[in-house]
Symmetry: C2
Subunit: 344 residues, 2 copies
C-alpha cells in the first residue's frame, strides 16, 4: 500500500489535532475541521490504511485514532513546518553571559529560561572540559595553612579549590609558584602534563613540592572528572501539567528519574553520539529509559572551538509541540554560539 498525498494530509491532521487536544481523533472531526473536501467515511477508509501502515493506532475499538511512535517520527522527519524561532530574549541571554561569574550559573539560568519558554522539562549539562586548556592558575594564601587555587581554563571556566597544607607558606613563595605554574602549564591540556614536567615543577618548588602535588590534584580533579559534568534540570514539574501524566505514580517515577543526573547524562550522550545531526528527537520507545517511553526528548549539543562539550535537552510528552520547541532550541543555540564567539 502506498502512502499517497491524501493519506499524509490526513495523518498530519490527526497529529495536529492530537497535539492540541490529547484526545483520540475521529473521522468526523477531521472532515469538519480540516478542509480536505472528503467525507468521514472516506477518511475512515484512509485511516484504516494508515493504521495498517503502523502510523496511527486506536486505544480501543470504538475510539478515534492517535499517532503511533512511527507516526510521530514521520511527522518530525518530514511533515513539520520548521521555523527558526528568533529567541526574543536574546538580550537577556547576553546579559547572562556578561554578569555571570561562573559558567554553571549561566547554564542553570538557561535551563530555567528554556523551561519557562517551552513549559517542558529541560536538562542542561555543564561543559565537559576534558580537552580544555589551562589558561591561568593562581595560588592565594587565605589562611596560614590554607591556599585557594583558582584555575581558569579555555572558555573562561573558573574553578576554585581550597588546599590544606602542612606548613605555612609566605605569599611571596606562592607568587613564585604561581608564576612558574603559569609559565609551564599555560595552554596545556591534561594529557600534556606528563611526569617529566611534573618533576620539573617539583624540583623548582623544592621543600614546597607538596603544594605542587596538591595543585596538580586540584587541576586534575576540577578538569578531568567526567562526573563533574554537572547536569541542571529545570521545570521537571511542568510534566505534571499534562493529562498523559494524570496517573500520579507514572509522573512520580518519571520525575524521580529526572533527578538522577547520571542516567540523564548517559541517555543524552547515547542519543547525540549516534550521529552528527544538529538537533535530534527521540520519540517514545526510542528512549532508553523505561520511564520515558511516553515522552519525547529533543536534544542538541553546544560547541566550544568546534567540539561538542555539552548538551541541552527538552523533555515533554510525545504529544509535545515539536515545531515550536525545536524552533526555540535552535534559536537559543545560534544566539549562544554567536555570543560565545563574540567572547572569544
Amino acid at each position: 500500500m502506498e502512502l499517497n498525498d491524501r493519506k499524509i494530509k490526513i495523518l498530519r491532521a490527526i497529529i495536529l489535532n492530537y497535539l492540541d487536544t490529547a484526545e483520540p481523533v475521529g473521522s468526523r472531526t477531521i472532515s469538519k475541521n480540516y478542509d480536505l473536501g472528503i467525507s468521514p467515511a472516506t477518511i475512515r477508509n484512509e485511516m484504516s490504511d494508515l493504521e495498517e501502515l503502523g502510523l496511527i493506532l486506536q486505544p480501543h475499538t470504538s475510539a478515534g485514532r492517535i499517532p503511533s511512535d512511527k507516526g510521530y517520527r514521520l511527522y518530525v522527519d518530514r511533515l513539520m513546518n520548521l521555523h527558526h524561532e528568533e529567541i526574543n530574549n536574546g538580550l537577556y541571554i547576553e546579559q547572562l553571559f556578561q554578569r555571570v561569574d561562573r559558567i554553571e550559573s549561566l547554564l542553570k539560568n538557561i535551563a530555567k529560561m528554556l523551561a519557562n519558554e517551552t513549559n517542558y522539562a529541560t536538562i542542561v549539562s555543564s561543559p565537559q572540559i576534558n580537552k580544555a586548556k589551562i589558561k591561568n592558575i593562581q595560588l592565594i594564601g587565605v589562611q596560614e595553612k590554607r591556599i585557594l587555587a583558582v584555575i581558569v581554563t579555555d572558555g573562561n571556566i573558573i574553578k576554585n579549590y581550597m588546599i590544606n597544607i602542612n606548613e605555612p607558606v609566605h605569599q611571596t613563595m606562592l607568587n613564585r609558584l604561581t608564576f612558574v605554574l603559569n609559565e609551564q602549564l599555560y595552554g596545556l591540556t591534561l594529557e600534556q602534563i606528563n611526569l617529566p614536567l611534573i618533576q620539573q615543577l617539583k624540583d623548582f618548588a623544592g621543600s614546597n613540592a607538596d603544594i605542587i602535588n596538591k595543585v596538580l590534584d586540584a587541576i586534575f580533579d576540577t578538569i578531568k572528572s567526567v562526573d563533574d559534568t554537572e547536569i541542571y534540570t529545570s521545570g521537571a514539574t511542568n510534566i505534571l501539567r499534562f493529562p498523559e501524566f494524570n496517573d500520579i505514580s507514572k509522573a512520580t517515577n518519571l520525575i524521580h528519574r529526572l533527578e538522577e543526573k547520571q542516567v540523564l547524562r548517559d541517555m543524552v550522550y547515547t542519543v547525540l553520539e549516534e550521529n552528527g545531526v544538529n538537533i535530534k528527537v527521540t520519540i517514545g520507545n526510542e528512549n532508553v529509559i523505561d520511564e520515558m517511553k511516553d515522552c519525547s526528548l529533543i536534544t542538541t549539543a553546544y560547541k566550544l572551538g568546534g567540539e561538542n562539550i555539552g548538551f541541552i535537552g527538552i523533555i515533554g510528552p510525545k504529544r509535545m509541540d515539536y515545531e515550536n520547541t525545536i524552533g526555540s532550541l535552535s534559536g537559543l543555540m545560534s544566539k549562544m554560539e554567536e555570543i560565545i564567539n563574540k567572547l572569544k
Copy 2:
C-alpha cells in the same frame, strides 16, 4: 474541661497512629493497639472531649479522628520524645567541607543529603553575607581586556567575577592593585568601605581608577545583594509520595510554589525572625503560604560567628515524623557547627 493524663495518652495514641497510617483513627484501634486498659466506649467519650477542646477532628460523622493543627502543636510542644540523632554520615559531611570549592555546592549537597535521609522536601539558603568581612581579593588577567576578580570573605566564601576593561593592563599592575586592595580592605565589611577610602584607592590606581570602580562593583554585587542569597531545594518531589497529595493539582501547586525561591526565603525568615528558638516548627495553617496549609515546616538557622546567616528547612505533610526529623536536623546542625568551628 480539663486535659487530664488519660486524655493526653489518648491524644498521643491518635497522633502516633495517624502519623503512621494517614487514616482517621477509631476508638477500637486505640483500645486494641495501645495498652491503655480502657474500652472503646470510654475512649469514645474521651475523644468527644478532645474534639470539644479542638485537639482532634472528624473528617465526617462516621469516621475516626485525626489530629487538628492545635493537636499537632500540643504534640510538638509537649508530647514528643526528642532524641538528638547522631548524624551517621558525619564523616561524609566532613568530606563535603574538605572537597568543596564553593560553599554553594556544599549547601546543595546538604539539601540533597537531608532530603534523602528524611524523605521530605528540603530547602537550604546560602549564607547571607552582608556583614561578612573581606579576607582576600585577587585580580588575575585572563585575557587582554578581561580580569578575573576572586573575592574571598569570612568563612571562606569564594566568589569569582569577570570584569571587562577598556584598556589592556599588565599583570604587574594588577599585582600592585591586588596588593593595595588587600592592604586597604582586609577585614572590612561593606559598610566600612566609605567614600574617602574609595577615593584613596582610585588615587593610587591613577589611570586605572576604572578598574577599582569595577572591582568595587564586583565586591558590592557579590557580597551585598540579598537576592544573591540562593536557595537550594531538594526532594520536592518526595511530596508526591504522600497520600495526602494524591490530588495531583494540589501537589502541583505546592511543588511549583516551592520553585519560587523568593517566596520560600520570605516565609522562612518570617518564621525564624519571630523568636530565637533553635528549631522552629510551623504546622498547617500557621504557614503563611496558602499552598502549604496542609504541610508542616521545620526550620533552623545556621550561624557564622554567632550570627544567623542562613537557614535549613524541611517541608513535609502535617503528618510528618516530627521526632526523627527534628532529631536529624539538630544532629546535622551540631555536626555542621562543629566542622565550621574547626575550619575557622
